[in-house]
Structures are given as C-alpha cells and as structure tokens.
C-alpha cells in the first residue's frame, strides 16, 4: 500500500512539474475579492482573453476584505472591493468600474408602499414591531439584516446613522440572493439588497417589491443619475499605481467596450 501511495504522489509531482513548465507561456492576471464583482469580472476577463489570446485572466471570489488582503500581500495582481477604501487602506489604489445602489425590499403582497427614514430606523431598532404601525397588515415585522462586515451593511448603517448592536433582526443573511429568497418566501419580511439584483429578480416574477428611499424610486436610472441616496462604487484595487498587464485590464474594464457586460450583470456603468 505504501509504494502505491508513493507512486501516486510521484505521478502527481511529475504532472505538476510538467504543468509548471507549460504554465509560464502566458501572461496571467489574478483577481481576487468581492463575490459581488466576481461574476462581472469573469465576463470581462473572458472578453479580454478573446482580444488578447496570450493573456489569462483568473478571477477568484471570496469577499472584499480578501481582495484587499491579497492585493496587499501580492497574492493577487488586482483586488475586487465592493465599497470605498478605508483610511487604513491608503497603500492601495482603487479604480471604480461600476456603481450599485442599495434598496429596501418587501414581499410583493405587502401593502406598504413607502417607509420614511424614521420608520426604517424604528423597524430596524425594534421599536416598531407590527406592520400595522406603518400602514400595513396587523402582523409582526420580520427584519432581515446583513452579516457583520458586509459592505452593504456598513453602507446601510452609516446612511441611517445606526450601529449594528442597535439592530434587532429576526434573520441575518449573507449574499444578496439569500436576502431576496428570504423576503420572497415571507410576506412579513423587510430587507435591503443590491438594486441591480433586486430589479433583475423582480422583473422575472420573483415576488418582491423595491421601496423608494426618501422619495426617490429605487431604479437603475436613478442610481446612474446620482439621485439615489444609498449607493456604492465597485473598485478594482492594486498595490500602488497599477502597471503592466493589470493596468491594461483595469482600463479595459472601465472602457465603453464592456458597458453591455456591466449592464448585463445588473450594475450601473460609470459613464452615462
């Protein structure tokens, strides 16, 4: 048994060595980070590879903080970060490639058409517990919040000037789609998710409805025009100024050539 294991390892090592040689022929750009941006960059990378057959674009998912950490440590050429850079991340250069808004969503059958700022704060801090208090049915509100550390949560909290420990949630979720599925499956739930994702799903019959925020309808167009009050940028970050192949890819990702891809993935392109 031992020799068989040894043989297997030797074969693997051989394969690895051989593969190692063939690997260096192509320029490889490694991107890691935000799971929100990863599908978009995969598509952009695919188009970039088609134009530059000698380049390979490897996109890895795993979260914004991983994008920051990997770009810093050189594990990745480019990090993907779905929020603005923080003051202690000044060693990185962030280049925006798209925008995204964040909207409150409720179940389609919920009669509530809009929530004021005070009502949102009341609901999320647990002072308002029944839908009847904000013009809805006489039922308990199910508050859906995002998990600690998510950039959507940080944006939401800072917009409503809340702290996470004040929030009394019944459900805590991770990704956008989980939030949408949770709200779609519960007529009494309220949550907040990426506008692009919510619009896409609502347009395909998922029973959710986007609520306006401070009188502004939660639409793609309003985010693009800069009218929607709660929005974020999607960044590609590099350690220092981008250079070489990474710079070319970042410029490609900002260009009009990929505008259709940005819209296809339900984000808002930067240039109108």
């Amino acid at each position: 048994m031992r020799w068989r294991a040894a043989l297997a390892l030797a074969v693997l090592a051989g394969l690895g060595a051989q593969a190692g040689c063939s690997r260096s022929e192509k320029t490889r750009i490694v991107l890691t980070g935000s799971s929100t941006i990863a599908p978009l960059m995969t598509e952009i990378g695919r188009r970039y590879e088609a134009k530059h057959p000698d380049v390979r674009v490897d996109v890895q998912s795993g979260g914004s903080s991983r994008g920051v950490a990997d770009a810093r440590q050189g594990q990745a050429d480019v990090g993907m970060v779905s929020r603005a850079l923080k003051p202690d991340e000044a060693d990185l250069t962030g280049t925006p490639i798209a925008r995204d808004g964040i909207a409150l969503i409720v179940h389609r059958d919920n009669p509530v058409q809009a929530l004021s700022r005070a009502q949102v704060v009341g609901i999320y801090t647990g002072q308002i517990k029944r839908w009847s208090a904000v013009g809805g049915a006489d039922r308990d509100i199910v508050v859906v919040n995002k998990a600690e550390g998510r950039s959507t949560l940080e944006l939401f909290l800072s917009h409503f000037q809340l702290k996470n420990e004040q929030i009394a949630a019944q459900v805590v979720i991770g990704d956008n789609e989980q939030g949408i599925k949770t709200v779609a499956g519960n007529p009494d739930a309220v949550g907040y998710v990426s506008i692009g994702t919510a619009e896409y799903d609502a347009g395909r019959g998922v029973p959710i409805r986007l609520l306006p925020l401070e009188g502004v309808e939660a639409t793609h167009a309003n985010v693009q025009a800069g009218r929607f009050p709660l929005s974020r940028v999607l960044l590609l970050v590099t350690k220092g100024e981008p250079s070489g192949p990474a710079r070319q890819l970042i410029e490609f990702a900002r260009s009009a050539e990929v505008r259709d891809l940005v819209e296809q993935q339900s984000f808002v392109p930067l240039a109108p």
């Binding site: 394969l15 190692g20 690997r23 799971s35 599908p39 490897d58 990704d175 956008n176 789609e177």
Partner: protein, 284 residues
C-alpha cells in the same frame, strides 16, 4: 398464550416503524429530487454538458466545470484511497484495538471528521496555495479534498476490517499465509462492503464540498490546461448561481441534477467493480 402473543405484536410494531423510517428517507429524497427535476430537467442537454458558461452561468453550459470537477475528484481519490486504505490496514491489523498509538490516530481522525469544511478551506489555502506555492489550483483543491475524505475512508475501512471474524485470520495464519497475502486475499474481499461505503461517502463528500474549494481550487470557469490551473467545481458553480447570480436558480438546479447523476454513475460503477473484485478474490 399471552407470552406468545406479545413478541409477535411487538415484532409487527417494529416492522411498521422500520418500514416507516425507510419510507420517510425515500420520501424526503423524492421530494428534493422532484424539485430539482422540475426546475432543472428542461435545461440539461448535450450542449449544456459541453459548452462553457456564459453571462455568469445564466447561459451556456458547464463543460469546463465538469472537467475541473472530474480532475479534482481524481486527485482527491488518487491520494486519499491508497493512503486511507493503507492507514486502515495499519490500524486494524498492526495496532491493537486499545493500543496507545491506535487510539491516538483514531481520535485525531474523528476530530478531523468534525472539522468544519470552511476551516479546511482556510487550512488548504495557507498550506497548499501559499506555503507550498501551488496557488489557486486543482491540485491544491484536490489535496484539500483528500484531507477531508481521509477520515471517512480510514474509519469506515478500519471498522469493516475489524469486523472480519478472527477465526478466518487465524486459520489463514495456520495455513502459513503471509501477512500481506492475508490482507490481499482474505481481508480486503471480506471487508469489501465497508470499504465501498467509505469510498462512496468520500466521493460524496468530495463532490459536494463547496466552502473549502472556493479558497483552494477557485472560481475560474475556463477549461483547465493543467492541474496547476484554477478550476471551478460543480458545487461552487451551484453555490454561485443560487446565492450570488440573480436569475441563476434554474441553471443551479440543472447543475445540481448533473452532479446527482454523475454521483449515481460513479457509485453504480464502483459497486459493480467492487462486487466483481470481491467475487474474483473470493473464488481463489
């Protein structure tokens, strides 16, 4: 009279409960698979199985992802099965059941089986991707999977080796058979059902793993050119489609269906092979 009635009544009740349990399991499975079939069957065709994904997986197929999954599984099994079988034979045949060393190894295996997959992912990321410099690659992912499948394979294989009646072993030794030929001709065939169960569980765990693979084999959905390339596993694809890509549900269901069918094929083939192996060796 009464004493004769009671056991029969109890036997009937027990039979009812036993049948009920089996039905419940089958029912749950039918429910889940039914949902998958309804959502996914219309999407699966030859093009879906071979084409590369497009539009973040909402269009196109899963061809390169299937290839990556196959390579990951192969690496995992090539490493874990011989190593696991060897370790199980060592544990069952060369260490006493209550010995210090055997106990230590066994305990650590049980702990290993309980380590959450996400910790395996972080571990694999640090050890294989960074320390050994393999980067995000199928090799890193396969080796991480092997670490996860090992406890399942070793523990089940050991349990079934130990269950071989000692009489068999003693008579073989009395006949003057060497230890290796006892293992090869007697123990392995006798323990075949247990080995198969462990193998199937290992394959299942490897195919179903998501969290650990995101951090090791990665997210790239291109056809891998070597085992040092990053490649997306089917389960990662399913997770991405169902939790990260809006409108990906149907494709997620279709991919899950492909995964289930692939598993069915692997399990069926291994059961066949194991049956033949057991018969051939048993006939000698």
């Amino acid at each position: 009279m009464r004493t004769a009635e009671r056991p029969r009544w109890r036997g009937l009740a027990a039979a009812g409960v036993v049948h009920g349990a089996a039905l419940a399991v089958l029912g749950a499975f039918a429910w889940i698979l039914g949902d998958l079939l309804v959502a996914g069957l219309g999407q699966v065709d030859w093009a879906f199985l071979t084409a590369p994904p497009q539009d973040a997986g909402r269009a196109g197929g899963v061809g390169p992802i299937l290839a990556s999954t196959g390579i990951l599984l192969a690496i995992c099994l090539v490493v874990a099965v011989p190593l696991g079988l060897g370790a199980a034979i060592f544990l069952a045949e060369f260490t006493p059941a209550e010995g210090r060393l055997g106990r230590l190894v066994r305990r650590s295996l049980d702990v290993l089986a309980g380590v959450p997959s996400i910790v395996f992912g972080l571990f694999g990321n640090v050890l294989f991707c960074k320390t050994l410099g393999l980067g995000f690659s199928l090799l890193s992912g396969g080796l991480t999977l092997a670490c996860m499948a090992l406890p399942l394979i070793i523990r089940t294989a050991e349990a079934s080796l130990r269950a071989v009646p000692p009489g068999l072993r003693q008579s073989a030794v009395a006949l003057g058979m060497s230890r290796t030929s006892v293992v090869r001709h007697l123990l392995l065939p006798a323990a075949a059902p247990g080995l198969l169960a462990g193998f199937v569980l290992g394959v299942g765990r490897a195919l179903a793993e998501t969290a650990a693979l995101i951090f090791t084999s990665g997210y790239v959905d291109r056809l891998p050119e070597s085992i040092l390339d990053s490649g997306r596993a089917l389960s990662v694809h399913i997770y991405d489609l169902s939790m990260n890509v809006p409108g990906g549900d149907h494709r997620a269901a279709a991919s899950a269906l492909v995964l289930v069918v692939a598993l069915l094929a692997i399990n069926g083939a291994s059961a066949l092979a194991m049956g033949r192996f057991g018969r051939r060796l048993g006939a000698r």
